[in-house]
């Protein structure tokens, strides 16, 4: 009888611990792809509180530089399959180096291109309050005219005829005619003699390095001078122009690996 008790207890214990384990899931080979953003001012790395010069010769210091990355989609060259990552929103913050590395898990074997949105899609702008990186407490949300600030560039410049010579560009707007979220499409580079992109031979990890050049904010498509437009704090024409400009700030970097 004593043996029986021990036996039953043992069975129950095993059963109990089994119930903690996840049901056997067959996981297809997954790779880790890390997307790393390198914020730049022209060719130089961007550093907060050190001065940069824009294409108009205006010298400025960046105090804050943040932007949302969402709706990422990766494309496989061999199978022509794509993989998207709905519900993943990332706030890239120059002041927080860990925010600049996005880790995703993918089953694609040969990534040839990446597509993502700079900003937050309109649906998330109209469905109340979100959590995580989209929490309004992150300071990237307009309370008086609901909507996300897609990207933010703040600093000081002698060219800004404003209190403390500050300038701040908060770019947002999701409605028709004033949308500031931009889809970015980037082809991955050819590295030496290999085929372009990231190729996984076996489960592993690969990195996509993306440069984001703040100097593009000033003249990529429209000329916007700090002296002329030191503030952007609402949706509208200026925000749209800035968005057109920043849509050109991303390039895939060849110099990392």
């Amino acid at each position: 009888m004593n043996r029986n008790i021990v036996f039953i207890a043992a069975i129950l214990l095993v059963a109990r611990f089994n119930s903690f384990a996840q049901p056997g899931k067959i996981i297809s080979a997954k790779h880790t792809v890390s997307i790393t953003f390198h914020n730049k001012a022209g060719d130089a790395d961007l550093h907060l509180d050190s001065s940069c010069t824009n294409p108009f010769g205006e010298i400025f210091i960046v105090k804050q530089f943040k932007y949302y990355i969402s709706n990422i989609r990766l494309r496989d060259d061999d199978t022509k399959k794509t993989e998207s990552f709905p519900g993943k929103y990332f706030l890239i913050d120059q002041a927080d180096s860990s925010s600049k590395i996005i880790l995703l898990s993918t089953s694609l074997k040969h990534i040839i291109s990446i597509e993502f949105m700079l900003g937050v899609d309109s649906l998330k702008n109209v469905s109340g309050i979100q959590t995580g990186s989209l929490d309004p407490a992150k300071g990237m949300f307009w309370t008086w005219n609901t909507g996300y600030v897609m990207a933010k560039l703040e600093g000081t410049s002698a060219a800004a005829n404003t209190p403390q010579h500050s300038f701040s560009w908060h770019v947002g707007g999701y409605k028709k005619g004033e949308a500031t979220a931009r889809m970015i499409y980037l082809k991955l580079p050819v590295i030496s003699n290999q085929a372009p992109g990231i190729r996984y031979q076996q489960p592993g990890s690969g990195t996509i390095n993306i440069n984001a050049d703040i100097l593009k904010w000033f003249n990529a498509l429209h000329e916007i001078k700090i002296a002329g437009q030191p503030f952007c704090h609402q949706p509208g024409a200026l925000a749209v122009s800035l968005a057109d400009n920043y849509s050109a700030m991303f390039t895939v970097s060849y110099n990392h690996e």
Binding site: M1, N2, N4, I5, I8, A9, L12, A15, R16, S19, F20, N125, V126, S127, G128, I129, Q130, T131, D135, P136, A137, G139, F141, T143, W144, N145, T146, Q234, P235, G236
Partner: protein
């Protein structure tokens, strides 16, 4: 043998218990659903209840947040400081409300009721979701002047909130979404649908002659914009108002940046209008009489003035009286006194006693600072009870001035007498009141 059998049973019992618990993912988390009742004949609400199911726990948390001054920078301004229940959650007798550090708001606080039917918020409709609404007054420098981050910090530091967030949402995480969802649960429950007008429509009551005549005039001259049962069509219109020199508020244009929207503001509901005076986006109309006078004499024609009022609305003195009689039938006294929406402190103990107690406590805490708003509050009570029967503006002002004097003279004595007598009990009570 007997012993081992007993051990076996005990073991079986324990394991069964453990098994049962493992099926229940979050032990102890159980909410009590709250039912949202759509009044008969009303349209379906627009608020998305699926995304934020109403529960007793969420509602109670929302109420606590609504009445908590800590949502403001200095702790003095809760949502309820500008949204007072006896004024249908508008600011009683204020054209503009008072905010942080002696500031004054730029717009007239609207009454809060029937929000579940409202798609856009603020006079200019800039806010597109009820959950997003509280963030505007919390962060506005002329209102609560606090950052969302700091509010969350303060809530996180309070074990009572940890408990209430757990009860409402299953764990102690406090974030903006949960805070605003709880507030929304409280706010959407504020349904005002039990005025005399509603009772008449349900066949339970009847209008007297002036009310009936007023209703007929209303249906001819007001109903296009103030559509029952909500008494607004939620459109934005320029009702022929001139821009105010100081505020330079062009309303809807600020949101759309479209010149065609210049000076357009949301049509306000007429429900409970008796207690939400003054009127208009900047509170420029003190009484209903002023509003009606504006429509028959004061309309200023500009490029965006609404075609309905462009040629003014012809109204005789007689008609204005009848209209006023009708509009007063929209006062929902059961809503104005509904204990579910009242500050829990006031519900649980005798009002006036607690009032004086909280004033004593506040004096102890912060000398004069709290005394003045508290007395104003008292004066407003007095004003409400004495003045609402008459409509003569000057006597109203006179009575409220006398009220303030009486209050301040009388209560100073009471307060200081009480202070001496009750000093020992104050701390105890303070603990009770503020821990809720």
């Amino acid at each position: 043998m007997k012993l081992s059998r007993a051990i076996l049973f005990v073991l079986l019992f324990i394991f069964c218990g453990v098994f049962f618990m493992s099926f229940n993912n979050s032990p102890g988390f159980k909410t009590t659903p709250l039912k949202f009742i759509v009044p008969k004949g009303w349209p379906q609400p627009v608020y998305d209840f699926k995304n934020n199911p109403l529960t007793k726990q969420g509602f109670e948390l929302g109420r606590k947040l609504f009445y908590d001054g800590r949502l403001s920078r200095d702790g003095n301004f809760s949502c309820a400081s500008c949204h007072q229940q006896f004024a249908a959650f508008a600011t009683y007798d204020h054209n503009l409300s008072h905010g942080f550090n002696n500031s004054v708001t730029r717009r007239n606080a609207p009454g809060l009721f029937n929000l579940a039917w409202q798609k856009e918020f603020m006079w200019d409709g800039g806010i597109n979701h009820l959950d997003a609404q509280p963030l505007a007054p919390i962060t506005d420098t002329t209102e609560m002047a606090e950052s969302i981050e700091n509010v969350l910090k303060k809530l996180n530091a309070d074990p009572q909130y940890k408990k209430m967030f757990t009860a409402a949402f299953g764990d102690a995480t406090i974030n903006t979404q949960r805070m605003t969802k709880a507030l929304s649960q409280f706010l959407v429950m504020m349904v005002s649908s039990n005025s005399k007008y509603d009772r008449v429509m349900r066949g339970q009551d009847s209008f007297n002659l002036p009310q009936q005549l007023g209703y007929d005039i209303f249906r001819q001259k007001c109903i296009t914009c103030h559509q029952p049962p909500l008494f607004t069509d939620f459109s934005y219109r320029n009702t022929g108002i001139a821009v105010e020199d100081f505020l330079q508020d062009y309303g809807r244009m600020k949101i759309t940046r479209n010149a065609a929207d210049s000076l357009k503001f949301k049509v306000p509901s007429l429900r409970n209008a008796q207690v939400t005076f003054p009127y208009g986006h900047d509170g420029r109309f003190y009484s209903l009489l002023d509003v009606l006078n504006h429509y028959r004499n004061g309309v200023v024609n500009g490029p965006t003035t609404d075609s309905i009022v462009k040629n003014k609305i012809p109204l005789s003195n007689f008609e204005i009286g009848q209209l006023q009689a009708f509009i007063y039938t929209l006062t929902d006294s059961s809503f104005l006194n509904d204990p579910r929406f009242a500050h829990r402190v006031l519900k649980t103990a005798h009002r006036s006693h607690l009032h004086s107690m909280s004033i004593i406590i506040n004096i102890n805490k912060n000398s004069e600072k709290f005394l003045v708003p508290a007395l104003n509050h008292w004066a407003a009570f007095l004003h409400r009870t004495l003045v609402l029967q008459t409509n003569y503006k000057h006597s109203a002002i006179l009575i409220s001035i006398i009220g303030i004097c009486l209050c301040s003279a009388g209560n100073h004595q009471i307060i200081y007498a009480n202070m001496r007598r009750q000093r020992s009990t104050v701390k105890h009570c303070a603990g009770n009141i503020f821990s809720r």
